[in-house]
Symmetry: C2
Subunit: 410 residues, 2 copies
C-alpha cells in the first residue's frame, strides 16, 4: 500500500491556481462573444449619443421659452422645420422658435429640450402654442449622457454579458479581443470502463465521467477534448497523458487517484520529468483522493473515479482553476448561484474535512426546503436527484434540521 502523502485544505489547493498563467487571446466578432472573457479593457472612443437626442415625439425648443406656459397662458413658438430622422437639423433655434422632432431625432443648435406633442397645438403651419413648461434637457438624452468618451466600459477578465455587447456595439466595436477557450483533456481510467458505444459485458460498466466532466468543462468556458478510455496500467496511462499534455491547457484523469492497488495516476505523473505533485489528498468529503500536479503551465488533476466525487471535486476545485486559466478576473460575488433554504433533517459530519452534501430543493408554505439526498458517492442517481450542494465547514460536527443553509445550485 502506498499512503496519502500530502493532504491539504481546499483553500491551500485553490491558492495554487495563481501559479498558472492564463491562456492566450484571440479576436472574435462581437456576435460570437457572449459569455466569453474579455482580454482587454474597453474604453469609450466617443460620446454616446454624439448629439442631443429626443426621447419623445414633439418640438425641440429652448426651455426658457416655455417657462410659465399653461392652458390659460400658452407660449407661442414659430416653427423652423421638421427634423428628419437620422438627419442633421438645418436650422438653428432661436428663443421663440421650435422644430418638429420625433423620438430619436437630433436636436438642433439652440434647443435644449423637447415639448411633448400632447402639450402643443398647431395654430397654423408656422406657429404652435405650448401649454406646459419643460426643463432644460427634459425629454432629451444629452451628448455623452449614455457613454462618456474615454470612460472605462468593460474590464479585462470579465465575462461578457448581453448588456456589455450592447454597450460595445453602441461604440462600434465589431471584433473583441477575448481569451481563447482552454482545452481540457479528459482521460477515463479503469479496466472495467467501456465507452458508451460499446455494450458492456457482465462486470464492465460504461464511462460516465467522460460525459459529466465534459459538460462541466463546457459550462465553465472550456473545450473538452476526450483522449481515451485507458485500462489500469502504467504504460497505457503514460501514453494517454503524453497525448493529452501535447494538446491541452489542463488535464483531467478520472479514476486511479487514490492509493489502492490499481491507482497509477501518481506514478504516471511522476514519470514526467518536469512534473510536480502539488497535492495528493484534499480535506473534503467526497473527493479526498484528489491529485493536483503541474507540468510547466499545465495543471494535471487526478480525480476520484466515483462519478459524484468527481463532479463535486470539479465544482469545488477544478472549476476555479479552469476559470482562472480562461482569463476570468474578480468574478462577481454572486457568480456561483445559490439559494437559501431550511434543512429538513439533521446532517452529521466528521470534523477535519469540509463536507459537501447533495440536497433536493422544494418550495413549501414555510419557504424553500432542502432535503439531503441519500446514497453513496459512486451513484450518479444522487446527483440527478440533487438540485444543489450544502457545505459543512471543516470544524462543524453537522447541521441541525430546521437551520438555514446556503445551497449552491448544480
Amino acid at each position: 500500500m502506498k499512503s496519502f502523502f500530502k493532504v491539504i485544505s481546499p483553500e491551500k489547493l485553490l491558492s495554487y491556481k495563481h501559479d498558472f498563467l492564463c491562456v492566450g487571446q484571440e479576436k472574435c466578432t462581437i456576435d460570437k462573444c457572449l459569455e466569453r472573457i474579455l482580454a482587454e479593457d474597453m474604453v469609450a472612443s466617443e460620446n454616446i449619443p454624439a448629439f442631443r437626442r429626443a426621447t419623445m415625439d414633439g418640438y425641440a425648443v429652448n426651455a426658457t421659452a416655455t417657462y410659465g406656459a399653461s392652458d390659460a397662458n400658452p407660449a407661442l413658438l414659430f416653427i423652423k422645420e421638421t427634423i428628419g430622422m437620422g438627419e442633421i437639423p438645418q436650422e438653428k433655434i432661436g428663443f421663440q422658435e421650435a422644430s418638429k422632432i420625433a423620438t430619436g431625432g437630433m436636436l438642433p443648435e439652440g434647443a435644449d429640450s423637447v415639448v411633448m406633442i400632447e402639450y402643443t397645438d398647431a395654430i397654423d403651419s408656422h406657429t404652435i402654442e405650448v401649454f406646459k413648461s419643460v426643463a432644460p434637457l427634459q425629454h432629451v438624452i444629452d451628448i455623452g449622457e449614455d457613454i462618456k468618451i474615454n470612460s472605462l466600459q468593460c474590464k479585462k477578465g470579465q465575462v461578457i454579458r448581453a448588456q456589455d455587447l450592447g454597450c460595445l456595439a453602441a461604440l462600434g466595436f465589431q471584433e473583441l479581443c477575448v481569451y481563447q477557450k482552454p482545452r481540457v483533456a479528459i482521460i477515463s481510467t479503469g479496466d472495467e470502463i467501456v465507452p458508451i458505444s460499446q455494450s458492456p459485458s457482465m462486470g464492465e460498466i460504461r464511462d460516465i465521467n467522460r460525459y459529466t466532466l465534459s459538460a462541466q468543462i463546457l459550462q465553465n468556458g472550456g473545450i473538452p477534448v476526450f483522449i481515451a478510455n485507458v485500462p489500469d496500467n502504467f504504460n497505457d496511462l503514460c501514453a494517454a497523458c503524453e497525448k493529452a499534455l501535447a494538446i491541452a491547457d489542463m488535464v483531467l484523469i478520472s479514476g486511479g487517484s487514490s492509493v489502492g492497488m490499481r491507482d497509477y495516476t501518481v506514478d504516471t505523473i511522476q514519470n514526467f520529468d518536469q512534473a510536480e505533485i502539488l497535492a495528493h489528498g484534499v480535506s473534503i468529503q467526497p473527493g479526498k483522493p484528489t491529485i493536483l500536479a503541474r507540468l510547466s503551465n499545465i495543471p494535471i488533476w487526478g480525480l476520484p473515479g466515483h462519478v459524484t466525487s468527481a463532479m463535486i471535486v470539479f465544482h469545488i476545485l477544478v472549476r476555479p482553476f479552469l476559470r482562472h486559466l480562461a482569463g476570468e478576473l474578480n468574478p462577481p460575488f454572486y457568480s456561483q448561484p445559490s439559494i437559501s433554504a431550511r434543512l429538513t433533517r439533521n446532517i452529521a459530519s466528521a470534523q477535519g474535512r469540509e463536507e459537501y452534501v447533495r440536497v433536493r430543493l422544494e418550495q413549501s408554505s414555510d419557504g424553500t426546503l432542502a432535503t439531503p439526498v441519500q446514497g453513496k458517492s459512486g451513484l450518479i442517481r444522487t446527483m440527478v436527484h440533487a438540485d444543489g450542494l450544502v457545505v459543512i465547514p471543516e470544524n462543524d460536527e453537522g447541521l441541525d434540521a430546521g437551520s438555514m443553509v446556503n445551497v449552491f445550485l448544480i
Copy 2:
C-alpha cells in the same frame, strides 16, 4: 395620434404562451445535448450496476462469515481467486470463502459484501484472517442500487444538466431526442439606426438592440436570425416581416411599437391577413409600449426601441415564451437566479403598473446591498452598471430604504 387599445397585465400576456405549440424535435448525439431540452421521457432500460460492485479494495465475502471477527478472534477465510477488473468471477463463494477484489470489481456469486484489505492479514497464499465484521452489502453497490430498471430518469421538457448526461451515458444512450432550437428573427427599425459596420453620421446611432436581443435569445436556447435594419416605413417593414415569418419560430421587431408618428409595427402586423394582435401595451415600466401578436403558431413581438426597455421586456415577457416554444416544461422554481439584498435607497413607483428597477449589488458587512441605478431607459449604461432587477408590484407605491428585496440577476 393612434392610441393604446389593449393594455393588459403581464400575467395576462404571459398566459397567451399556452396558445403556442412548441417546436419540432431532433436527434442529437449525447455530447451535444448539454442544456438542450429533452423531448421524451427517459426510462432506464437496465439496472445500473448490472452486478454487485465493490467500492473498496479487499475481499468479497459472505458477511455472516465475519460476524464476531476481531483482532483477538479473527475469522479464517479461504481464498478462491483474484477477480480481474471488468471480468466475470469464475468461482462461487461458500460460507468460509473469499475472493480478492479491487474497487469497481464484480462480486462473485455467494458474496454480499467486501472486507477492506486493511482489516485482513494473509496467512499464506490460500488463507486470510479477517479482524472486523462487515454487514451485508457493506462496501458494495448492489444490482440496480444506482439506477433501477424501468424507472423514470429524466423528463420530457427538462433542461439537460451535466448529471443527467452522466445518467443517460450510464444507460448507454448515445443519442437523445431533444427539441430543436427555436429560430428567432430580429428586425431593428428606425431611420436613425445604422449597422455597426457603418460609421454613423451626425444624427444617426448604431444598432444596439440587435446585439442585446441576440445574446438574450442565445442565453435562452434560441437561434438569433438577424433579418435587417429597416427604416420607419410601412412597406420596408412589411417586406422584412414577410422574410422573418418565412423562416422563424418567433419574430422580434425592435422600435416602432408605440403610438407615435413613426410607429408602424401595429399597422405592419395588421397587414398580414391571419395576424391577430393579442396585446398592445403592457402594464409594466419600463416596457409599456409592447406588442404581442400571433400569426398561426408564430408569436410576433413589437418591442420598445429603448435598449433597456427592450432588454427588460425580453427578460420578463419574451423569455418565458421562447422557453415555452423551445419545449421547456415546469422549470425548477430556482431557474431564474436571484439574490436577497437590502435596498440602500427609497424607490418610488406609480401604482397600476409593475415596475422593474435596475440595481447594482455589493457586499458589505451588513450583507448584500442593492442600490438603484439612475438613468433613463434609453441608456445602455444603466444595464451595464446593473447586476439585477427588483420588481415593485403593481399596487405598491414603492420600496423603502433598508427593506429586503429579491434581485433577479441579469
